[in-house]
């Protein structure tokens, strides 16, 4: 029972982190129709910027300064890169962001090297916040949960309760009309791209110390972010949250319990072939849930694409 609670908390942390990454991606997509392949690279930039700042000014200044810095880089990429490519259509945009991802990775390697960098959590958040029976819940995780929830609340407030949010929502569905009303739509686009990448930056700043900061960190998270927004529905913020939490809990529980395929299959009524290693189905019979935990989100995505192509909360077809 205790372990279930602990796993719920762990899954929540994973899910919220994924949400912060996918929120920016889904915002950018819904507004500009661009699938930003370089999104996870901005996440990596966040971690590296924060590390560099933390050397001189400490972790907290890193958390404060690095995300806006990433946002500025993101806005500049939109203004001077994407906007120029935009006129040639979506495929060149895709290729542009893909190239950007490779460029950022090489740049990071060039500046900070290939190794893991010692980006550490601040001393005040070291150690356990509390324990559930013998399981420590690190203070840093509690901090991650509150920070991500705060950002979600802030984002929701801006999008639904403020004038800027209204213009963004309007520009989402009727860009031409909004432009005709005298609003600067390209500026809105640039702002959204900047904020989206800054969100990825925040995720990088707080994930860097626990998931380790190295040039491959963008690659490791890159594909799962796309899975999240496809499951949640492209362009839906709420969908991104729900999908991220589902993925977080699904993978955490699959890894935390050794559910064996053997038990499931015999439970359903199949008999185990003897000897197992000689059977054509040997691989299937010896599977355990931790082994397949990381492909479960992809399986879910395929199911979603088959049965509900616009995602859980999405309004348009993929």
């Amino acid at each position: 029972m205790d372990l279930i609670l602990v796993n719920l908390i762990d899954g929540l942390v994973t899910g919220l982190l994924l949400f912060m990454l996918s929120a920016g991606l889904t915002l950018i997509f819904s507004m500009m129709g661009v699938l930003n392949f370089a999104h996870a690279s901005f996440y990596m930039l966040g971690a590296y910027f924060a590390y560099q700042i933390s050397i001189y000014l400490g972790f907290w200044m890193g958390l404060l300064i690095a995300p806006p810095l990433v946002g500025i880089v993101g806005a500049a990429v939109e203004r001077y890169g994407l906007r120029r490519v935009h006129q040639y259509g979506h495929v060149p945009e895709l290729i542009f962001t893909f190239g950007l991802a490779l460029l950022i990775e090489e740049l990071v390697k060039f500046i900070w090297g290939n190794d893991q960098i010692p980006y550490q959590i601040p001393e005040i958040l070291e150690g356990a916040a509390f324990s559930i029976s013998s399981y420590d819940i690190p203070a840093y995780k509690v901090f991650m949960i509150f920070l991500s929830l705060g950002i979600f609340a802030g984002l929701l407030f801006v999008m639904t309760r403020t004038r800027v949010g209204m213009i963004i929502q309007a520009a989402l569905s009727y860009p031409r009309t909004v432009e005709a009303l005298g609003h600067n739509v390209p500026l809105v686009f640039m702002g959204v791209f900047g904020v989206g990448t800054a969100l990825a930056g925040v995720a990088g700043v707080i994930a860097g110390p626990v998931l380790s900061t190295f040039p491959g960190m963008a690659f490791v998270l890159g594909s799962i972010v796309f899975v999240t927004i496809v499951i949640g529905g492209l362009g839906s913020l709420g969908g991104a949250l729900v999908a991220a939490l589902i993925i977080g809990w699904m993978t955490t529980f699959a890894k935390a319990y050794n559910i064996r395929m053997e038990d499931i299959l015999t439970g359903v009524g199949f008999t185990k072939p003897e000897p197992t290693w000689d059977s054509a189905w040997a691989d299937l019979w010896t599977l355990t849930s931790p082994q397949i935990a990381d492909i479960l989100p992809y399986l879910l995505m395929i199911l979603i694409l088959v049965f509900r192509p616009y995602g859980l909360f999405g309004k348009r077809d993929v």
Binding site: D10, K109, N114, D115, I117, S134, V210, V220, I224, A256
Partner: protein
């Protein structure tokens, strides 16, 4: 007249061939390992160690065969067996006769098979495989061949030494084994079960599992399981970011016992663990830096650090590869006749730069050497890793570990 022209042409041609043979005097060694992607840091640091060892230990002393220099050529295999075979072909096409590889036994298994096949089909361009790190025992047992030489202690030898230490620690009652899901991870798990069962039948193995290699973003769920199992010690063969993330996660989530590892050092791992890993991390390996064996070894490390301030002498065995290869080439009197070089390597005894002897066992081409158990600490560290102040200090040693261990290798010699 015509015959004179022909003879002249033949003479000119043979002169040209001889001249080019004289110019192509470098002995090239293909270094096939990941130079990009998630494991790039390990690969690049290995490449630097090879380049430095070749330069400092061979070229600076006048090379081999009276003047031929060693040259290391890097090939990026992206740690994929498929890509490695392509790079192997490229290396062979460039006339390279020596292949060094170490990261991932999956790659090593593919390479040794391909090299065996190639050497049987192409007796004129045979190559030797200098395996400096891939420690899957199969490579010197059922999959052994004449062309493969392993300079690292294999997973069984290391586990034998490790379990000697664990067996002596009566506080260890429950052990959790976790590793990466591929041939090496499985070999470590099998060896741990085997040796612990033989030496300490009272120790309970409370967990034995594999996780996908290089794909786990967050090890928290695994750490929870380890804590939940009530284990006193953890054994893992993980390396690279998998090692760092697993170790950090296990320690952060409340595990207090020792973590016995194969590769929890250098390449940023030591620095990233820092104070957290002190008292927990143990490592089994060869080639100690703390305490250092000799003045010569100390000078070597200092010179390496002067050239690569951010690098580490993390794979001490690389110097053995270079020195023993140079000796074998000199003994054989040829750098191109790899059969003769291979025969010279077989059974060779060598005084390692890092102290102790190394013997290339002729039955299976497994190097027999001293194996040490290290602790991650910042006390008594003369040569740290990652410029972090933390390093690996010898806790206990096993001289000529597993020298009489059996092998199933039935080697066919050319």
């Amino acid at each position: 007249m015509r015959t004179i022209v022909k003879r002249g042409a033949v003479a000119a041609l043979s002169l040209a061939v001889m001249a080019s043979a004289a110019f192509a005097e470098n002995v090239k060694i293909a270094f096939i390992d990941p130079l990009s992607g998630p494991f790039a840091s390990t690969g690049t640091n290995g490449l630097h160690q090879y380049e430095f060892a070749a330069e400092a230990l061979v070229n600076a002393n006048g090379g081999v065969l009276g003047g031929q220099k060693f040259e290391i050529v890097g090939f990026d295999n992206k740690i994929s067996p498929k890509e490695s075979l392509i790079q192997l072909q490229v290396a062979i096409d460039q006339g390279i006769r020596y292949v060094a590889q170490g990261n991932s036994s999956g790659v090593a298994n593919a390479l040794t098979e391909a090299i065996d096949k190639h050497n049987r089909r192409n007796p004129d361009s045979r190559v030797l495989f200098l395996n400096y790190s891939a420690v899957d025992p199969a490579l010197t047992n059922e999959k052994c061949n004449f062309w493969h030489f392993r300079f690292d202690a294999n997973a069984d030898i290391k586990m034998d030494a490790l379990t000697d230490v664990m067996a002596a620690d009566s506080s260890i009652k429950k052990v959790y084994i976790i590793g990466q899901d591929y041939s090496f991870g499985k070999a470590v798990a099998a060896a741990a079960v085997n040796f612990l069962g033989a030496k300490r039948p009272d120790v309970e193995i409370v967990g034995n599992e594999l996780h996908p290699i290089g794909k786990v973003k967050d090890f928290t769920p695994y750490a929870r399981k380890i804590v939940a199992s009530g284990a006193d010690a953890v054994i893992t063969g993980n390396w690279g970011s998998d090692m760092l993330n697993l170790g950090k996660s296990v320690i952060d989530n409340g595990f207090k016992g020792p973590i016995y590892t194969y590769y929890a050092a250098a390449d940023g791992i030591t620095a990233a663990f820092g104070e957290t890993g002190k008292g927990s991390l143990r490592l089994v390996s060869e080639g100690p830096l703390n305490p250092i064996a000799s003045e010569r070894a100390a000078d070597y490390v200092k010179a390496f650090k002067a050239k690569y301030p951010d690098g580490n002498v993390s794979q001490a065995r690389i110097t053995n590869v270079i020195e023993m290869l140079a000796r074998a080439i000199n003994d054989a009197g040829s750098a191109t006749d790899v059969v003769a070089v291979g025969k010279a390597l077989e059974g060779m005894e060598h005084d390692s730069l890092w102290g102790g002897k190394i013997m290339m066992r002729p039955q299976d081409h497994q190097a027999i050497q001293d194996v040490h158990i290290f602790a991650h600490t910042n006390e008594g560290v003369q040569f740290d890793y990652d410029n972090s102040g933390y390093g690996m200090v010898v806790e206990s040693s096993v001289a000529m570990a597993s020298a009489d261990a059996p092998t199933t290798c039935k080697m066919q010699r050319p």
